[in-house]
């Protein structure tokens, strides 16, 4: 039996070796190096002097950091809860359909999620184009004044949040549909025998039973949107990137535009901590919910 365990350990080692090599190189090492770098005044590439917490203290009250921080928070507020709500409403509509019709309608909602961000950018940059965008003709029709949406600070974040909801909603819709399918039909049948109204059924049955999925979708969205960069970067081209900064964008600017690796790493560590704290809280909440079942 002893030989057997030794053999098992050996096999396991061989199986996990490629994974360990890859994760050591691309995950553990860069994480340690990032923390290390954040305490130096190093450029992007090359050595630097140890400066202690300087890079962190300099972030307090810094204009660009404030912009990036609050824009990220603003974007999260504009996209997470509204996105979850839209996905739930759509999923409720789609779940009423059956067979091929359902597959077709679901595909229409899901297709954007499959597209690369640069395609999403091109489609909406065209749809919302100030001069020729089809949305602007609709604006004209309704007597709304045209706005160069991605060039104004007022409209930039709401518009990017809108496009992001359009882009990522398909994923949340799928999760809601899976949640809706897991609600036993008998509950609804029993309720309809009691002549329960549509709205009461939703409030008393669907909403509470869908709650775990709602929590899951919201936290996945929250963690995802904290890390926003791609859309903001793309829609900012030719606009006002400094007003539209978000945290990842600011990391990119400091590191790759200003060539300040150390200062960029400090911002990265801050975002890193925010995301990890949110994830850990989320994980603990899920565990609590599991235990209560």
């Amino acid at each position: 039996m002893l030989r057997n365990t030794r053999r098992e350990t050996l096999v396991a080692l061989v199986l996990i070796a490629p994974f360990l090599a890859i994760y050591g190189l691309t995950f553990v090492y860069p994480t340690v190096a990032m923390v290390n770098l954040s305490f130096t005044d190093a450029p992007l590439i090359g050595p630097g002097e140890w400066v202690g917490f300087d890079n962190y203290t300099r972030l307090t009250g810094e204009r660009r950091f404030d912009t990036a921080f609050w824009n990220t928070a603003y974007f999260v507020a504009l996209s997470v809860i509204p996105g979850t709500f839209v996905a739930m409403v759509i999923a409720l509509g789609v779940s009423r359909l059956t067979g091929r019709m359902q597959a077709l309608v679901l595909a229409l909602f899901f297709l954007p999620y499959i597209l690369p961000v640069s395609v999403v950018y091109r489609l909406w940059d065209w749809t919302l184009n100030f001069q020729f965008g089809i949305a602007m003709y609709v604006f004209d029709l309704w007597g709304i004044e045209r706005v160069p949406i991605f060039k104004t600070t007022t409209w930039f974040m709401p518009a990017v949040a809108f496009v992001t909801i359009w882009w990522t909603c398909g994923f949340s819709i799928l999760l809601f549909l899976a949640g809706l399918r897991s609600i036993p039909a008998e509950i609804y049948e029993a309720a309809s025998l009691d002549n329960t109204g549509r709205w009461t059924m939703f409030r008393r049955i669907t909403w509470p039973l869908l709650w775990p999925v709602t929590a899951l979708v919201t936290t996945i969205q929250l963690i995802l949107q904290l890390k926003i960069f791609d859309q903001v970067y793309l829609f900012s081209t030719g606009g006002r990137p400094n007003d539209n900064l978000v945290l990842v964008y600011y990391i990119f600017q400091r590191a790759f535009v200003n060539n300040q690796g150390g200062r960029a790493a400090a911002i990265a560590v801050v975002l890193f901590l925010i995301v990890v704290i949110v994830s850990v809280l989320n994980f603990q909440l899920m565990r609590l919910a599991e235990r209560r079942k």
């Binding site: 098992e8 096999v11 396991a12 199986l15 996990i16 994974f19 890859i22 691309t26 995950f27 090492y29 860069p30 994480t31 990032m34 770098l37 992007l44 590439i45 509509g93 009423r96 359909l97 679901l106 229409l108 899901f110 297709l111 954007p112 499959i114 597209l115 690369p116 961000v117 640069s118 395609v119 950018y121 091109r122 489609l123 909406w124 065209w126 749809t127 184009n129 001069q131 020729f132 089809i134 003709y137 359009w166 994923f171 999760l175 002549n195 963690i223 904290l226 890390k227 791609d230 990842v248 990119f252 590191a255 790759f256 690796g261 790493a265 975002l271 995301v275 990890v276 850990v280 994980f283």
Partner: protein, 280 residues
């Protein structure tokens, strides 16, 4: 329930269904609009009214993109890096998932915790050190450099582990008794049980990799080494401010993943729900 109230409920149901259909069509409209615009001549695209179908249908923008720009080269880069990332991710993750699920070895728990931890770490914050690492390895502007950081994909490992968990451990022990080699057991016994999951995971890993933007955007500075998702937004002088040409390039960039989804719809949705931790 009286007949009139039943009819009323059916009417409301019908309205909801109709609304869902209308919203679905509006939802997909920008995609349709982008495709239609790319099939119009430039002067038709900028006409000040809405035409849902081109007057003169033309493929000139596609021919231009495919022959006059580097898009062919970008396609090759995207295919090579996405296929490479998929093969490496799937194979290494499957091995780890199998080891975690079916084998007993020291430090198994810490390994599992490492994988769970990597779930929480935002790779976007590691871009600086990924760049330094890849630069020091001399891999900037190479396929390997584009692929490397994309290999952090713990979801795939967890899904594999959960699938192998459903197989009783006796299964493996019986095979060991029969003197079957460990790798034979994995490839002849366990793998065939999971072909469905493997295809599903491979398709979404390919889509994720094809769509990745931030890292390929940083790792490549030479236009001929760009992936298509980066290339179509970075090399604007190749297309100018010709909207139809830009849209044609975008359609070409989205086409492979859209096709992959439409062909394997079931598998894609299965993999996505699995990756979110819901048994689909």
């Amino acid at each position: 329930m009286t007949a009139s109230s039943a009819r009323q409920i059916n009417l409301i149901g019908g309205i909801i269904t109709l609304l869902t259909l209308i919203i679905a069509i509006l939802w997909a409209f920008p995609i349709y609009w982008g495709i239609v615009s790319s099939l119009k001549p430039e002067n038709e695209v900028v006409r000040p009214y809405i035409e849902l179908w081109p007057d003169t249908l033309t493929f000139e923008h596609y021919i231009f993109a495919l022959t006059e720009t580097q898009i062919g080269r970008w396609y090759i880069n995207s295919i090579a890096t996405a296929v490479g990332a998929t093969i490496l991710t799937i194979s290494t993750s499957m091995l780890v998932g199998y080891a975690l699920s079916q084998l007993r070895f020291p430090l198994r728990r810490p390994l599992y915790w490492l994988i769970l931890a990597s779930f929480m770490v935002p790779t976007q914050t590691l871009i600086i050190n990924h760049f330094v690492l890849v630069a020091n390895m001399g891999l900037l502007n190479t396929w390997a450099g584009i692929i490397l950081p994309q290999l952090i994909n713990p979801v795939v490992i967890i899904v594999y582990k959960q699938f192998f968990d459903q197989v009783p451990r006796d299964f493996r022990e019986a095979a060991v008794m029969d003197n079957a080699g460990e790798f034979r057991i994995l490839f002849k016994v366990y793998m065939p049980m999971n072909w469905g999951v493997t295809t599903a995971l491979a398709i979404v890993t390919f889509i994720w990799s094809w769509n990745s933007f931030l890292w390929p955007f940083l790792a490549v500075t030479k236009t001929e080494m760009m992936t298509i998702t980066v290339g179509i937004t970075q090399v604007s002088d190749a297309f100018g401010v010709y909207y139809a040409s830009q849209l044609a390039a975008a359609v070409l960039a989205g086409l492979p993943v859209a096709l992959a989804y439409l062909l394997f719809q079931r598998r894609v949705t299965q993999a996505i729900t699995l990756s979110a931790g819901i048994k689909g």
